[in-house]
Amino acid sequence: MNVDVQLWSFVVAGLLVIIGLYAIAFMDNLVKKIIGVMLVGDGVNLVLITEGFKPGGIVPIISEKLFSSGAVGDFANDAAYSLPFALVLTNIVIGASTLAVLLGISIKLYQHYRSLSVAHIFQEDDA
């Protein structure tokens, strides 16, 4: 069966982003909102990874044999697109950092309010 991997990967990525946004907009639990933020980031990561995909491509690590035979041009033609992978690595760290800070703040808010409900936490100053 011939499935267009790339197309479906993009669709899944878009769905991840949308589910994340849904969680942020409509869910009351703080931790679920944070999971939503992470889902948005992961969806974007998946978009980038899929951009690096090349049908029939090889891993962008050159082997000793290929390098010594001087076929760097062939390698460049065959290898998967490497720039998006590097960007993904950067974004993963960004996501981890944001997650740490958000979880820290929610621990503090939980200690104060004894609740993770956003409606409860923000009830007095929301206009």
Binding site: M38, E51, S97, T98, V101, L102, I105, K108
Partner: protein
Amino acid sequence: MNSELIPLMVVFPLISAILLNLMHGKDRAVRVYGTLAMVVVIAVPLLAVYGNHLFGAHPAIDTPAETGIALGRINLAIEYSFGFLQRALIFLLAAIATFAVLSHTSNEKRASGVYLSMVMLSIAAVSAVVMANDIFNMFVFLEILTISQAAMVVAKGDIGGYKAALKYLIFGGVAGGAILLGIALLLGTFGVLNITDLGNALSGNTKSPIVLTAVGLLVIGWLFESGLFPFHTIKSHIYSSAKADVAALLQTETKIVLVAIAIILLRLFGGLSNMSAVMVGLSVITLAFGSVMALVQTDFRRLLAFAAVGQAGLVGIGLSLGTPDGIAASIFHAVNDALAMSLLFVTVFVIYEGAKTTEFSRLGGLLTKAPRLAFLQIIGIMAVSGVPPFNAYQSEYRLIGAAFQAGYPELGVVIILGTIVTFVALMKGFFLTFLKESTAVAAIGRPQLSNALPLVTFATMVILALVCLGIGLHPGPLYDRFADVAITLTMGV
């Protein structure tokens, strides 16, 4: 062309941030190093030579045909460009940050190295965003900026700060995702990240759905980072939850980032009239909402926060017009407004320190107690709302002129209305704080506020007031060079 000092504008604050964090706990070392570092931070942008800096020394090459990029030459390295605009904005940032650092080191009983390192990180991030000629690099440093701004708010250590920071970071995560998704779409379609190259590749190629979606996503990011319409409550919440000297720094950073990202958007999608229209519309809504909501606040800090957001909308209007006059006037207004708003934030900071509250119901009749402060505040109010001898008058006047010239006289009317509302709101704050004598206040006890101000704070306010007056009397030297910048910017479009 290469200037070795250009990367130092970012790298030196980063090194200082690490060192200050390691020094945390050694009070004296933190104070001395923090003060000395600010001298370097101010000096470097003044000493650096205009030019471009290539990281890693990789030059531009002729494009191989296999890449599928329709350009003759492409840049490989991350590039920074440094010109008059960058120098002016980074110097402004360094000056305001110096006031924040000095006010911290001289007024706090125990200097906090971690907090100063956050200030340093945000300076580095804003400098990088201003200079970056690479769209992904801009994104990375915007994320640093978001987290460090949240940290400066959190550093106050109260529950309101946590709530503001939480909201800010959640929406920051979404906005960051939107920017990166936009970058991903552009990278997949055009294959480059350098802004100059991307702008060339995009010219005349702006009708495909991918480009339109990317524009929308990047504009969402711009709106968040500069606190425009859908995000204006979050930004004002951040300002009013921070300490006022931090708030002065935050609003300066926001205005600088607003200008920087808007210029990047104009360079990328300058030919797209839909984007302009959307940006103008949202800026106008921000101006209206910010000013009107400032009018109904019952707390001086919240009032000021909304006024600052409204003024950001004013800056956004001119930039989104996209005409040379509009861009120049907007950049000029951003600088003026950052200065004048900082003055106002510092005065409110003094009131808060003295009276321990900024709610109008508990203030009143402070004029006799602190006449000097009242005088400085009225100067700040006049400067912000464009009263003639001061600087914002010059820029707002030019902004209205630009709106007329671009064929939107209605915008001129909106700008005038917004300015008037801001003026009324600020004067209301001044009246309720300094002039009104009320029995309710007498019943709960007069707030304490002495006329003797801390030296650094007083010097800060006087210097800011003098600068506002000076720019107002001689706008020429600064404005003309912004006009040159704007003309070179719009040439490529």
